[in-house]
Point group: C2
Chain length 552, copies 2
Amino acid sequence: MKQRLRVIPLGGVSEVGRNMWMIEYDEDILLIDCGLMFPENDMLGVDLILPDISYLRENKERIRAIVITHGHEDHIGALPYLLADMGSPPIYATRLTQGLISVKLKEAGLHRTSEMRDIVPEEDVREGPFRIEFYRVAHSIPDGVGVIVGTPAGLLVHSGDFKLDYTPVDGRPTDMSKLSELGQRNVLAFLCDCVRIESPGYTPSEKVVGEAFDNFFAQAPGRVIIATFASNISRVQQVLDTAYRYYRKVAVVGRSMENNVRMAQELGYLDLPEDTVMRLPEVLRLPPEEAVILCTGSQGEPMSVLSRIANQDYSPIRIRQGDTVIFSASPIPGNEESIHRVINSLFQQGADVIYSALTRVHVSGHASEEELKLVLSLVKPQFVVPIHGDYRHMALFRKLARSMGFQDEQILLPENGTVMEFSQNYGKITGKISSGNIFVDGLTVGEVGHVVVRDRQLLARDGILMVVVAVDRRTGKVVAGPDLLSRGFVHGQPDEDIWDEARDVVLKALHHDGDTPSDWTFANRKIKDTLGKFFYRKSRRRPMILPLVMEV
Amino acid sequence: MKQRLRVIPLGGVSEVGRNMWMIEYDEDILLIDCGLMFPENDMLGVDLILPDISYLRENKERIRAIVITHGHEDHIGALPYLLADMGSPPIYATRLTQGLISVKLKEAGLHRTSEMRDIVPEEDVREGPFRIEFYRVAHSIPDGVGVIVGTPAGLLVHSGDFKLDYTPVDGRPTDMSKLSELGQRNVLAFLCDCVRIESPGYTPSEKVVGEAFDNFFAQAPGRVIIATFASNISRVQQVLDTAYRYYRKVAVVGRSMENNVRMAQELGYLDLPEDTVMRLPEVLRLPPEEAVILCTGSQGEPMSVLSRIANQDYSPIRIRQGDTVIFSASPIPGNEESIHRVINSLFQQGADVIYSALTRVHVSGHASEEELKLVLSLVKPQFVVPIHGDYRHMALFRKLARSMGFQDEQILLPENGTVMEFSQNYGKITGKISSGNIFVDGLTVGEVGHVVVRDRQLLARDGILMVVVAVDRRTGKVVAGPDLLSRGFVHGQPDEDIWDEARDVVLKALHHDGDTPSDWTFANRKIKDTLGKFFYRKSRRRPMILPLVMEV
């Protein structure tokens, strides 16, 4: 019998970010999430990375719908770039998630292109051969869901991003009854969030952050400036609630923070305590011990409000003695240096700074080791696939599943683009489709980025050196130059007359056996080689060398 | 009365690394430590950063001696670069530290230039007006000391790098009696290691690492590959001891690891259990459950043995199922991405990987919050100066000292180059000397680096674009070009004929009002401006533009 249910990650495995899953049954395709990823430090100049949708671009008429599990960047952020290329299929999302998607599409100047359809956790929907159900999950953003996809081959479950918070701020915990019910329904494959598996035990409830806020708001002698992710609506709620309890007023500052707060309030996901939110100028006129400023910048992002305050580049707010600044988010790996720079600078200007290394002003939104065991023991799938993690997280998840009695062939570790086929009692990795890194770089979106990024790495390490020579096109004689120009390159000693020597090296390379090479490609290579060796000897550096021979 | 005791950090405050202190009394100078610092991620292409010794270069005949507190890179690493410039004064160091300095000077091709003098913790020495005593401190390397400098103005204490480990591997804990004795001696100023102040409570003893090793060596089904710092002699000792207990043999791999182990053994700081250390080929011939490989690479350094193993680029060792790899060191901030890449790759090749996020295979060598309080309450200095930390650590130390009753004027927070003057009951910041970042870049050492690094940052972000035009020197007519060459730059759409347009832009810029500009500097600026605007409009990128007009 032909295996017809194919499950393929288009992004988000062996990496953290750009989550996107494709479920294909016969001629029908269902997508889950469409996120973006931020580049690593050595992906120089790259703005964003998107999932590879080459396959979808060629098969867009077969896409039935996109289901979005929740409103974080790594699950919705690629929609503005890719929605049109996929033929703008309908989007299923909960109301808050819809709100966040709309803000995002509007900011990108896109009018709503896809039809939005409500997810209501107790109602299921049908799209082609797929019967789709949803269940609530607690995470660091409200209104997240897990997804159950019924197919003729069997039941797939996608966990969404989740933790088992029994006391979430919005009062809507992960649906444990649904998870146990799944244990009775013979789940074929369970795709499970594994990113926090390195943490032993249980992830603390979002509630503990509120308790920490209580302390700091009570003790802060002056203004409180607090930074978190704009999408972290639960955190925003806790800031507002705490401010209200301590008779403080809150100014919400920064475009994305303002947009999200307005939207979440309109949709009823934020409960604004009476007279608590005010405009910034009004809050700044209050006595400092009554003022709270809520802004973005918890990751040290250079253009965020908090970084600008730290750089004394945000005119309404200057740090002064008595200010307390709270970073209510953990550093995303790779951001440590910029965050520390902001922290140091705030301290230097006289603020007291509270950050995650010091105390619990942030908790994770993902399940820790024991929670994963609990969920796995409830769902009891035939096959399990760790998702939403680096390879190390996935490998640790395999170890965990083994310890619970899963056999190796029941645990599938896909790469991006890996095709997993499932049918009754059957699950295997059977192939691979296109799975590149799609870079967003300025206005360009595409694979073109790879060579460019490699060049930037070379440029960044040792700089560049240009050599230009003009030669007579008939005689081949050098009529001007060689001129040398360098940027980002240092040589042995500033006073040494290395450049004259280098010019001689070039001239010799051009006339090595008395006559002139008529093939300028060859001459270029020759200049590059000899000059490269010359400078390596002098400086132990290998600048990129670009020779240009001009015929005049 | 003139204040004559001046204390100046030349590196190592408001940063972690390149520790170096200058103590000046009248005409005499005493130095403590001479370390290097590794660059941050955005200091592109820079290899190392050294302390600024401009002042010492001009006053080398006044330097009496350098005291080295212990053998870590951030305390000895700049010696090969700077010793000669300081006139090679005598170096005081304990025997292990001397060994590490000698290995370093030899590796740099330097014969021992300075006289080495033994530090014996119970004996004091005299250098000009300074009476110098030493006391033992426990740290992540054996044979560290704190330094007590008696001057006619009063007593200075430099804590060295320390923690209060009562059960260190070498059996030599921090000298608590000396610390309490200092409390009776009216210490004028105490310079105190503050880098781990973010950790509440006490730093665990190095012993707990040994207990963790016991578990992993007992459970590992095959070979154990373990990476740590080459200088971490105590960790090496624990690996050897554990291997011996579990009937395993150890191969020491990698140049710096081999050098340090040999030296430490010769000096009696490493106690090699019988028949435990063997050469790599012999160890590889053993059954896997009897093999241990000890190597460098715990920070993901690209050329280290462990990174090469992970990249399948170290021919003697290929990872196979059953191997256990242990990272016995915490990530230094900024190294997370490279470390995670190595971990992922080792997992992918089938190893089980144990690292600091998972379990206690490393402890810090520095004192945590409660230890700092304890030491401060023992030493009871008149003035206290937090050292060896970022500004945030120093600011937290100030908070801690305040909480213990110190007045603000008793707590001095210097920057690099800050002059602190002390005399009886007096301590104040009074000035500043030269304090740049001295970059080592290839063979170059010097300030030159700043412009170069800024250029590299620009190149790394948006790449470079060169424009070359040849003009007739008499008529000013364009006779060849404009030729455009780019590297690391992407434009709007690959298929667009943007280059032809750009060439037109250049030609127009050259002939803007009908005649030819005779001043080529002006022409260059014109090309740069118009082309810059053109490409920003097309690509939202600002590549570095280098125009070159050649007269032929």
